[in-house]
Amino acid sequence: MNAAALRDRVAVVGVGRTPYSRDSGVSTQTLALRAVRAALDDAGLAHTDLDGVACHRVGDSVQAAIVAQSLGIRDLRYHLDLFGGGSQSHWVVGSAALAVATGVAECVVCWRAVNARSEFRMGGTGRAAPDTLEFQYQAPYWFATPPQQLAMYGRTYLDRHGVTAEDLGRVAIAQRAFAIDNERAVMRTPLTMDDYLASRPIVDPLRLYDCCLETDAAVAVVLTTTERARDLARPPVLIAGAACGGGTTLFSNGRGDLTVSAAADMAPRLFGQAGLTPADVDVAELYDAFTPLVLMQLEDYGFTDRGGAAAFVASGATARGGSLPVNTHGGHLSEGYVHGLNHVAEAVDQLRGDAGARQVPGARVALSTGQPGYVAGTTSALLLRSDR
C-alpha cells in the first residue's frame, strides 16, 4: 500500500453529539450510544448498517465491545479499543479509515464518551491513577495532572521564544469569540484580556483560562466508503489523510529539545499522504488542552515559522475572517472537552457548511489534530476535505 492509498477513499458520513454539561447524570455507556445513534440519524443509516466500532479511553469509559454488543452487531468486523488520551484521538478515526479502505469493514462508528467532570477527572480525582508506568515517578511530587505536565513542556516553548501571558490570552480570547456563536459551547460569555490576566493561577505558567474545560459528553462520527457515502443523506467529507506519529516517552525520550512536538515530524508525512500543503488548509481545529499547544502546533504543522505563532495569532489570522481560523467551535477551551472527537466533528460541520454563524466561508480543507505528543509522546491528526 503506498502512502497515498488512503487518500479520499473513506468519508465521514454522520456526526452525533450529546449535550455538553458538567453533569450528564447518565453513564458513559448511555452517552456513547446516544452519540452513536445521533451520528447514524445524521447519516441516514441504521444501527444494523454498522460492522465496526472504535473508541479511545484511559480506563474512564465504556468498553468498545459493550457498545458493539448493545448495537446488536453479531459479526464485528472491526474493533478498536485504544488506550490513550487526546494524543490518540485522531488515530481512532484514522485507523478505522484504514479498515474501511481495505474492505475489512464497511461502516465503522468512532466515538469518545466521557463524564470528565462528574465522574472521572483527568489526572486522578475520582479514580485510580492512570495505567502508565511513568506515573510512579511523577505523582509523589504532585506532578500528575495534565495541566501540570503541559505547563512543564509549555514553559520551555514560552521561554525559548519569549511568549508572553498576553500572547496566550489572545489564543483563549479568539476561541471564546467563536464559542459565543456555538449553541453547544459550555462557555459563551465574552472573554477580555483583563478577564484572562485576572484569572487565577493554576500551575505556573498556566492560568485558569489557559486550561480546557472538563466536560460530560460524547461525540461520534460514522465512516464508510466514499463510493457508498455519495448515496447517503449528507454531503460526504473525505478523509484526505490520516496519520499517527511520535512514540517517545515523557523522560528519556529521544527528544532533547522539548520546545518542538512530535507533530513536527509527523506533519510532512500527513500532508504528503493527502497531496496537500499547509497553504491549502482553510480551517484548523488544533488540539487545545492548554493554550501553548495551539501556538506550538501552528509552528509544528508548518503554518508559521519557528517562534512565529504568537505574532500570527496577534495579527488576527486565527480569528474569524482570518487566513486560518482556528478552533472555530471554541475548542476544548470554550466549547467543551470531548478529547479530540469534538474537533473532528467541528471540522466536518465546517466542510459541510453546517457551522451556522461561525461558518468559515467556502471552507474546503480542514486539519484536525490530536494532542501533539507530550506526556504519552504519541500524536495523530486528520486532513479532511469536502467532496464539493
Binding site: T125, L133, P140, W142, D159, V203, D204
Partner: protein, 140 residues
C-alpha cells in the same frame, strides 16, 4: 491535618531504582552494548536493540530543563505553592527526570538552564506504610 502525598507505585522494573534512592544513590538504566542511558528502566535499548542492561550510577549533576509551580491543589492535600523541576542529567541530552525542589516553594530563583545537583528527601513511614525516598534537587 498533614498533607498526604501519593506514594510511589513501585513495580518489578522499578524496585531497584527506588531501593537505590533509599540509599541516597541515583541510578539510571544503561545499555550494556552501546552505553546509551535510558530512564525509566525498559528491557530493550531503543538505540541498538540490545536486551543487556544494568542500573548504573549517574553523577547527580544536571541542569533545569523546565519547572512548574503548583498554585492549585488539584483535589489533593498538598502545600501550596509547590515546585516541581524537570532535570536534564549531565550524562545525556535526552535523559530527563522530574523531582522535587529543595529551594523556595514558589520556585523563586529557578531558571531554565540552572545547574543543579541531586539531593534526597526521606519520607518517614508509619504504622501502615514503609518509609521511602524522593528526589530533592538543589542548586549546584
Amino acid at each position: 491535618m498533614s498533607p498526604v502525598r501519593p506514594r510511589p507505585a513501585v513495580e518489578r522494573d522499578s524496585t531497584p531504582w527506588w531501593d537505590a534512592l533509599a540509599r541516597h544513590e541515583l541510578v539510571c538504566a544503561r545499555c550494556a552494548e552501546c552505553g546509551r542511558w535510558r530512564w525509566p528502566p525498559r528491557a530493550l535499548c531503543g538505540a541498538c536493540g540490545s536486551l543487556e542492561w544494568a542500573f548504573a550510577p549517574v553523577s547527580g549533576a544536571g541542569t533545569v530543563a523546565s519547572f512548574v509551580v503548583n498554585r492549585h491543589g488539584f483535589g489533593g492535600a498538598f502545600p501550596l505553592p509547590s515546585t516541581v523541576v524537570l532535570v536534564r542529567l549531565a550524562e545525556q541530552d535526552d535523559l530527563l527526570l522530574p523531582g522535587g525542589w529543595s529551594g523556595a516553594p514558589d520556585g523563586a530563583g529557578l531558571t531554565i538552564g540552572l545547574a543543579v545537583r541531586v539531593g534526597f528527601e526521606d519520607v518517614p513511614g508509619d504504622a501502615d506504610a514503609d518509609p521511602y525516598t524522593l528526589l530533592s534537587w538543589r542548586p549546584a
